[in-house]
């Protein structure tokens, strides 16, 4: 199991970016941040491929995938009481 994690770590998952401290009141938890570091690269790559694929499909006249569209714009607007 640990070997799989090490392999995942070796994936160029984490790009070097400096980030401002987002002074959130919520503790994100070290585990969840480590997880994002591990899976972020793969998830990001897959996201880029899907975006590219949907663009390609829309170029050939098929319905574009919803990756980049805004969802919920058509949501009803009945007001709260």
């Amino acid at each position: 199991m640990n070997r799989i994690y090490m392999a995942l770590l070796a994936v160029p998952a984490v790009l070097l970016f400096s980030t401002q401290n987002a002074y959130a009141y919520l503790d994100p938890g070290t585990g969840s941040m480590l997880l994002q570091g591990l899976i972020g690269g793969i998830a990001g790559g897959m996201f880029a491929i899907r975006l590219y694929w949907s663009k390609l499909k829309s170029r050939f006249g098929r319905t574009p995938a919803s990756v980049s569209t805004r969802d919920g714009e058509q949501a009803p607007t009945d007001k709260a009481r």
Binding site: Y5, A13, V14, L15, L16, F17, S18, T19, Q20, N21, A22, A24, Y25, L26, P28, G29, T30, G31, S32, M33, L34, L35, Q36, G37, L38, I39, G40, G41, I42, A43, G44, G45, M46, F47, A48, R50, V67, R70, D71, G72, E73, A75, P76, T77, D78, K79, A80, R81
Partner: protein, 463 residues
């Protein structure tokens, strides 16, 4: 009379107040920059116009007097018909709230806005439609930042959904005892090996639980280093869309036929009896026009739908049967009914709990219905749970000033089934005792026997 909403103490960005039935929120100096960014970029208005954020309007801060404590901005929110909690939501409601949260975050990133948390309690329902109630969780996105809310999202949305989707266990009872949600490490312990073989479960449950444990062992020295590395926006969007795709496919692992799921279709009524019952309820709803109707033992929402069609404004349904609640929720969505079906056991209803036992209110404290339906319900308390008939009627009539209660006699097949394996200790149970108990508390506007079933409907009014 102005009172602080006791559940709004966590985030120093502001606080919620209730004053004469109106809802206000302060925005403190520390949250001002983020608020004005979200407001001035037009995001706030767009979310309110599309019904995804509860309506909010800036008002003169002096309206709260000293309670505003110098907050530069105060907004007034419109009221939600009924405040509910994730431990009361049936599976499809929790799933709808989870997808709503993810869609909102994905959408907001295009405008450079990030949500500071992923609290399920910040989502409320108007009918079956989720709406965000906390505008202070919207703030400016900083390039490279991590998704602070991931752990909370997993504990409050994903893990409770997985509990039902993977193991077939409804989340409600555990969640009610564990207000922050289902801890990832505990879910990981419960999952059998073969359920861990899906790569999503492996990633978000097994791996996350391991990383949490190892981080705890090593201390948080690495935390600063991780934070410095940062996460690209594409990676963040990738994680969000991946989770969205997974959750959209989650379904309850079926637990077989449940008690009431088929009841609406295969009940013991004849069509004529059913028709008479619907007519009675429609006439009640037409005459009373309740703004908020409570439907106890709502099953799949049939009678709520009848009442809503006849003039009730909104309905909240309660039932303890998961399958019935799921049917009711799906029906409310597809038929666009202003109905919110919630999990509730009348013999053990949601208590006041959380910090100082005031953070999340019990069902009694949220009772503001002006109409009640309790159809084929009282015998479940009286016969099923041994609650004395008089107490049952007292409790029911206390919930709303007007309503319809159905009496189910002892020779009814459902009661006979309940008594099949036990001693009949209910000597005084009968329509006369029922009528006397009701008349002691309210005026009986109308009573009608339903065809030849022996059941009787009572329309009461104690106002």
């Amino acid at each position: 009379m102005t009172a602080v909403e006791p559940g709004s103490f966590r985030d120093p960005s502001g606080q919620v107040f209730e004053s004469d039935g109106r809802i206000f929120r302060t925005i403190t100096a520390r949250a001002l920059a983020d608020y004005t960014f979200v407001r001035d970029s037009g995001v706030l208005k767009r979310l309110i116009d599309s019904g995804r954020l509860v309506a909010s309007e800036e008002v003169d801060p002096s309206i709260l007097g000293n309670d505003a404590r110098g907050a530069p901005i105060v907004v007034e929110h419109s009221r939600i018909p009924f405040v509910s909690y994730p431990y009361e939501w049936p599976f499809p409601a929790l799933k709808a709230a989870a997808l709503f949260h993810l869609d909102l975050q994905i959408d907001l990133l295009a405008d450079g806005v990030m949500m500071s948390d992923a609290s399920a309690y910040n989502v409320q329902f108007i009918g079956p439609r989720p709406v965000l109630i906390d505008l202070l969780s919207l703030r400016r996105y900083h390039e490279g930042e991590y998704w602070t809310g991931l752990r909370q999202f997993c504990e409050q949305f994903l893990n409770p959904l997985l509990l039902r989707a993977v193991l077939g266990v409804p989340h409600n009872q555990w969640y009610r005892g564990s207000l922050e949600g289902i801890p990832t490490a505990e879910l990981n312990r419960l999952l059998p090996f073969h359920k861990k073989l899906s790569w999503q479960v492996m990633t978000y449950v097994v791996l996350q639980a391991r990383l949490e444990a190892s981080a705890n062992d090593k201390g948080t020295a690495d935390a600063g280093a991780i934070r410095k590395k940062g996460l690209t926006k594409a990676s963040l969007l990738g994680i969000l869309t991946q989770l969205r795709g997974w959750i959209a496919k989650l379904k309850p692992a079926d637990t077989g036929k449940t008690v009431w799921g088929d009841y609406a279709r295969n009940n013991t009524y004849t069509d004529a009896a059913e028709e008479a019952k619907c007519r009675f309820i429609a006439e009640f709803a037409q005459a009373v026009r309740p703004k908020l109707l409570w439907d106890l033992g709502c099953n799949s929402g049939n009678y709520s739908a009848v009442a809503l069609g006849a003039g009730a404004g909104a309905a909240v349904g309660f039932d303890f049967d998961q399958k019935a609640l799921e049917l009711a929720f799906d029906r409310a969505v597809s038929e666009k009914l202003n109905l919110l079906p919630l999990f509730q056991d009348a013999a053990n209803p949601s208590p006041d709990q959380g910090w100082q036992q005031a953070e999340r209110r019990g069902i009694q404290g949220r009772r503001d219905a002006d109409g009640l339906l309790a159809l084929a319900f009282e015998h479940h308390l009286v016969i099923g749970r041994n609650v004395p008939l008089d107490q049952t009627i007292g409790w029911l009539t206390g919930l709303a000033p007007r309503g319809v209660i159905e009496f189910v006699p002892k020779d009814d097949p459902t009661v006979q089934r309940m008594l099949a394996l036990r001693e009949d200790i209910f000597d005084g149970y009968g329509v006369d005792a029922f009528t006397a108990a009701l008349e002691a508390r309210a005026r009986i506007v109308r009573a009608e026997s339903i065809a030849d079933s022996g059941r009787r409907l009572f329309w009461y009014d104690r106002s």
